[in-house]
Amino acid sequence: MLLAAFDWHSLFFMFFALLTCGFAVAMLFSDNVVHMAFYLILSLGASAGLFFLAGAEFVGAMQLMIYVGGTLVLLIFGVMLTAQSRFISMKTRSGEWVMALVLGGSLLFLLLTAAFRVEDWRDGNPNAADIGIAESKTTTQIGMGFTGVRVDRLDAPEDSTLVPGMSGYLLPFVIVSVHLLVVLVGAAYMARTKRRATSTGAAA
């Protein structure tokens, strides 16, 4: 029966995948930089939907919050600050298009054949519907992972050199947070306006 084989998960996957890819391609072929930013927002937002479908709720929300709500607002700020009419749409030479499309097409072909080459990746998990809600709660585990304790691995010491549950990410987490702080301070320092000093100097 047609209805019995019907599967919302696949349908939503197709929907979000088409949105993601479609808007990415629309972004590629759009000349107007503001339209590009808009398509990028939609594409990244739809890929957050793919994250939710794969069971990565926290990462999906993070994608919406940091990527779409933070990084892209910053990007649009940049676009609006530099959007003089002559920079809004800059055409690419057709030779470059041909070159890029040929190279990109061959890379895509390579990646697509690789994606379907491994048999283990090709069939989905047939028991996906049996995964309980309790098992899909990963937020606490992610948080504990960042503090260095892998509560999801307490019973599975797959590597004998590791203490069970002790392959956390405390050090990378600290490094990344310090890195982010330094980078943001540096970016604010670099982007601050210096024009006043130079322009008054030039005027004098």
Binding site: L64, G70, I133, M144, G168
Partner: protein
């Protein structure tokens, strides 16, 4: 709900899900659209009273009940004008972005115990993230209009909303930290009992944080005194100067939708959600029963929640018609020099309170529940339902694991950390 249609109405599973989804969507869109209708009327009456006038009195009876509906009909009949210099595609799309974001956030907002369109483990985070997306609507509208007023409004909006997300996030973390979850249903259920159980009264710091949250929420939905993106006296109408007709009204639906959203979030996070000040339904024992009584208890909870959200919205209106608009530098000063440090201080204070196990209002004797007994009960319930359904389909005893979820074997983890194993 899908289970209900599947078992009771014997619909096939995909169709059952479809029907359930449509019902949820229709309910939520009613909250957003009808809510906007009522709130716009309410705003006129409130502002009228504050300014010693009557507000609308004619359309639909003595109180002007139908004023907003009449306005809506007028707006539909109006011509939809696109300026010559506008970026056509973005100009058309911008209002829908804001409305869609405001609507989408309601997916994760519970209206009563278990009455939520989608149970999410990260509901708080999801709502904040989707609210953050809403900022694109004014930005794109302001840019695409091709008008100076609009662009000024858009730049102000972007700077303001992105800055206010920082203290807002810090305030939201505090109740999540106390409850140990990001799930709004669980957070709400942990505040059952007398009103002393509400998280705002948990300790002095959480009360401060609740006030800061409400300030930041007002700013992040662009209400006066933080409505610099519109600023009628300076920018004509800010980012929606060039809009007209129904497209313009979408901005307003989005604004009132997100106003109720942040008020509802405040109600759940700090003011007990669907639990009334006195736990009538618990005393009667309705919340533990099933069938009609449980339904009635939850309906009462839903009314409670709607009332609390509406009170939040009315407070926002009261503030709007009382305080003068701030300048843009004052807005930034409020955010960066006051809200962020106070929120950080409140967060550290609440953390200190938790770590040292100082007495909280939850410890008071009386009607109430231990906060941690209510944790994540819905997960266990849902898995039990799943297991029983699996057992009904296949006669063999199912071995679906049902385990404690919130307490992730804390003893073992604690032992590991104590021995210095954490790297």
């Amino acid at each position: 709900m899908a289970e209900f249609f599947h078992t009771t109405c014997s619909l096939p599973t995909p169709l059952a899900y479809l029907v359930a989804a449509i019902i949820h969507c229709v309910l939520i869109i009613h909250v957003v659209a009808v809510g906007a209708l009522i709130f716009i009327w309410l705003e006129r009456k409130v502002s009228g009273r504050i300014q010693d006038r009557l507000g609308p009195t004619r359309v639909g009876g003595a109180f002007g009940w139908l004023q907003t509906l009449a306005d809506g009909i007028k707006l539909i009949a109006k011509e939809d004008i696109t300026p010559k210099d506008a970026d056509w595609m973005l100009f058309k799309a911008a209002p829908y972005v804001g409305f869609a974001a405001s609507y989408c956030a309601y997916i994760a907002l519970p209206f009563s115990d278990g009455w939520v369109a989608q149970h999410m483990n990260t509901a708080v985070f999801f709502i904040l993230a989707v609210l953050g997306i809403e900022v694109f609507s004014p930005i794109l509208a302001g840019y695409a209009s091709g008008s100076k007023w609009s662009l000024f409004g858009a730049m102000r909006e972007a700077a303001q909303v992105v800055s206010y997300e920082v203290p807002l996030g810090m305030c939201v973390v505090v109740p999540c930290m106390i409850c140990g979850t990001l799930n709004l249903v669980t957070i709400g259920n942990q505040q059952a009992g007398l009103f002393t159980n509400w998280l705002a009264f948990n300790d002095p710091f959480t009360f401060v944080v609740a006030v800061v949250y409400f300030t930041c929420a007002t700013a992040s939905v662009n209400r006066a005194p933080f409505d610099l993106a519109e600023a009628e006296s300076e920018l004509v109408a800010g980012f929606h100067t060039e809009y007209s007709g129904l497209r313009w009204s979408f901005f307003f639906m989005a604004e009132y939708g997100s106003m109720f959203l942040v008020s509802g979030l405040a109600a759940i996070l700090f003011f007990g959600g669907w639990n009334g000040p006195i736990p009538i339904f618990q005393v009667l024992g309705w919340s533990e029963s099933d069938g009609v009584l449980l339904y009635l208890a939850r309906l009462g909870g839903c009314l409670n929640f709607l009332l609390k959200g509406t009170i939040g919205v009315v407070v926002m209106m009261w503030v709007r018609w009382t305080l003068p608009r701030l300048r843009i530098d004052q807005v930034m000063t409020t955010c960066l020099k006051y809200c962020v440090p106070i929120a950080a201080f409140g967060f550290l204070g609440a953390l200190f309170w938790q770590v040292n196990e100082l007495p909280t209002s939850n410890d008071l004797p009386g009607i109430g529940i231990n906060r941690f007994e209510a944790r994540e009960s819905w997960v266990i319930e849902a898995d039990q339902q799943r297991a029983s359904r699996a057992a009904a389909v296949t006669p063999s005893p199912s071995d679906v694991p049902i385990g404690p979820i919130g307490s992730v074997e804390f003893d073992r983890v604690e032992a590991l950390v104590m021995t210095g194993g954490a790297r």
